[in-house]
Amino acid sequence: MYDRSAKLAATGVVIEYWLHRSKTLFTAIKGVDLTVRPGEFLAIVGPSGCGKTTFLNAVDGLLPIADGSLTLDGREITKPGPDRAMVFQQPGLLPWRTVLGNVIFGVEAQGSMSKSEAVTRARHQIELVGLNGFEDAYPLELSGGMQQRVNLARALLTDPEMLLLDEPFAALDAQTREMMQLELLKIWSQTRKTALFITHDIKEAIYLSDRVIVFTRRPGRVKNELEIKLSRPRDLRVKRDPQFLTYEDEIWESIQEELAVPAERLMKGVPAA
C-alpha cells in the first residue's frame, strides 16, 4: 500500500517529555506510523494538543524520540540537517536584520553557501515569494503575512529535500491565509519538494495536500488517512467542490470523535503525579 521508496518513514514513534514542574513523564506521541512519499504534500491534522507539532519537531531533529524509528531516505534522524527545513508558526525573524539578511540566515547557519552566492540566490527567492522591493525592510515593518513569506523564503533558500511547515498560516487573518495557501501551492508546484504540513485547519489541509492524516487526541497516533484526489493546479474555488466538502465532512467527523471523549478518558494520557 505504501510506496517502497518512502521519503520519510515513521514506525512506532514515541515521544516523551519530562515535566519538571509535576515531575512526571508526559507522552506526547505514542506509536505513530506513517510514510511520506517523494514529492508528496502531506498534511497532518488533529485536535489541539494532540502532539502534531511535537512530531514535526522530531522530524526536524529538534526533539529526540523515545522509541520507534524515524528515517529520511532510509537514514535515521538524530539532529537537524540540511536535508530538512522548517517553516515555523512564529516567523522567528532576527529583528535587527533586513528581509535579505533574514532570508540568508538559514544557509548562513548551515554554512553551505558563500555569502555572495547566498545573497544572489536570496534575491531570487524573495522574488519567488513575492517580496521584491522589501529586501531592505526590517521585520517589524512588515505585516504578519509578509513575515511568513520571509520565513518561507528562508527555508526554501536552503534547498531542502523536505519542507516542514508548522501551522505557518495559523496566526494570519482569514483573507491573508487564503492568499498564502494559494501562493504556497504555486511555489510548491514549481519545486515539487516533499512537504509535511501541520495544521488544525481542515480546509487548509485538504486544499494543499495529496494526502491528509488525522491524529488522535493526546497521546497522538494516526487515526485516519485520506487520499485527496482533487486535480492540480487548484485554485481557491476547489474549496466549494462537492468532493472537497465530502473530504471535509469525513475529516471533521474523525476529529469530532476525538473531541467528544469524556474528561476522565482524556486524563488517562497523563500518568498520575
Binding site: P82, W96, F105, E108, A109, G111, Y138, L140
Partner: protein, 288 residues
C-alpha cells in the same frame, strides 16, 4: 467634515467638492512633522531650565542668605570661568579623567566578558552569583577606607572604586541580555543546524546589545559617584578633591562650579552612549 455632511438626507450623494464646508483641508504630512513639533523637546527643555535659573538668581539676589550659603547661578558661572583660568584645574581634570578612564574602561571589558559568560554558561552563573549579589547590594564606596589602607591616597583606590562601581551594573545587564534571547530565535537557529559559536555571534550577541549598552550607561553614574566620593575622602588632586577643598575653605561658588563640571561630564557621557544605543536600534520602528 463628517460623513453626514456629504450625504443628502434623501440618500442621494452630493458631490463633496461643491460643498461650502469643504474648504481646503489643512495639509499635514505624515512623513515630516512640523518644525515646532520637531524642536518641541528642545524648546520646552531650554525654557524650563532658563525659568529655574532665573528663579534661583532672584532668590539669591534677595540675599536672604549670604553668598556662602546660597550663591546665585551668576556667581557659580563666574567661579566656573575663574576655575579655568588657573592651571590647577587641568591637573584636577586630568587626574579624575585618568582614574575614570582606567576604572571604567576596565569595568567595560571585564564586565562584558563576565556578563556574557554568566549568561551563556549556567554553571558559570551559579558559581559567580553569590559574589555578584554581594557586591551589587553593597554600596562599593564603603570599601574606600580599605583601599586607602592598601594603596594610600594615590589613584589606585579611586580606580578600584570606579571599577567596582561600574562593573556590576554592566555584568547584570549583559547577563540579562543573553538570558533574554528569544526562545523562538534559538529554535530557528538550531533547526538550521547553527553551531553554538554562530548562535552566540549572530543571535545572542546582537540581541543583547541594547541590554549591554544600558549596563554601560548605568555604569557611568556609578563610576562618577565612585570618583567623586573617593576623592572627597582623601586625594591629592581631582575634581572631587577640588569640591572638598572649596567647601572646607568656604568657597561655595567654586564648589558648585566643580559640581557643575561633574554633572556636565555625566550628561555628556550618557548622551554619547544614548547616541550609540540609538544607532543599534535603527531597526526598531519609531514609537511616534
Amino acid at each position: 467634515m463628517s460623513i453626514k455632511d456629504s450625504l443628502d438626507l434623501r440618500g442621494t450623494a452630493v458631490p463633496v467638492t461643491s460643498r461650502e464646508s469643504d474648504a481646503p483641508r489643512e495639509k499635514r504630512s505624515v512623513v515630516q512633522p512640523s518644525r515646532i513639533k520637531l524642536y518641541e523637546p528642545l524648546i520646552l527643555g531650554t525654557l524650563s531650565v532658563v525659568l529655574a535659573l532665573t528663579a534661583w538668581q532672584l532668590v539669591a539676589n534677595a540675599r536672604i542668605y549670604s553668598i556662602l550659603f546660597l550663591p546665585g547661578p551668576w556667581d557659580v558661572a563666574q567661579a566656573f570661568v575663574k576655575l579655568f583660568q588657573t592651571d590647577d584645574i587641568w591637573l584636577d581634570i586630568g587626574t579624575s579623567g585618568t582614574e575614570m578612564g582606567i576604572g571604567y574602561g576596565m569595568a567595560i571589558v571585564v564586565g562584558l566578558v563576565i556578563g556574557l559568560l554568566m549568561g551563556w554558561y549556567t554553571r558559570f552563573q551559579f558559581a559567580l552569583d553569590p559574589f555578584v549579589n554581594f557586591f551589587y547590594s553593597t554600596p562599593r564606596i564603603v570599601l574606600i577606607p580599605l583601599f586607602i589602607l592598601w594603596w594610600g591616597i594615590e589613584m589606585q583606590p579611586k580606580i578600584a572604586v570606579i571599577f567596582l562601581g561600574a562593573l556590576f551594573p554592566i555584568i547584570i545587564n549583559t547577563m540579562a541580555g543573553v538570558r533574554n534571547t528569544e526562545a523562538a530565535l534559538l529554535r530557528v537557529a538550531r533547526s538550521f543546524g547553527a553551531s553554538d559559536a554562530l548562535i552566540f555571534r549572530r543571535v545572542v550577541l546582537p540581541g543583547s546589545v541594547p541590554f549591554i549598552l544600558t549596563g554601560f550607561r548605568l555604569g557611568i553614574g556609578h563610576a562618577l559617584t565612585g570618583v567623586v566620593v573617593a576623592e572627597l575622602i582623601a586625594a591629592k588632586h581631582g575634581v572631587g578633591q577640588l569640591i572638598a577643598i572649596s567647601s572646607q575653605t568656604f568657597q561655595t561658588p567654586k564648589m558648585l562650579a566643580g559640581v557643575v563640571l561633574i554633572a556636565c561630564t555625566g550628561m555628556l557621557l550618557t548622551a554619547i552612549l544614548q547616541r550609540i544605543e540609538n544607532r543599534f536600534q535603527s531597526w526598531r520602528p519609531q514609537i511616534r
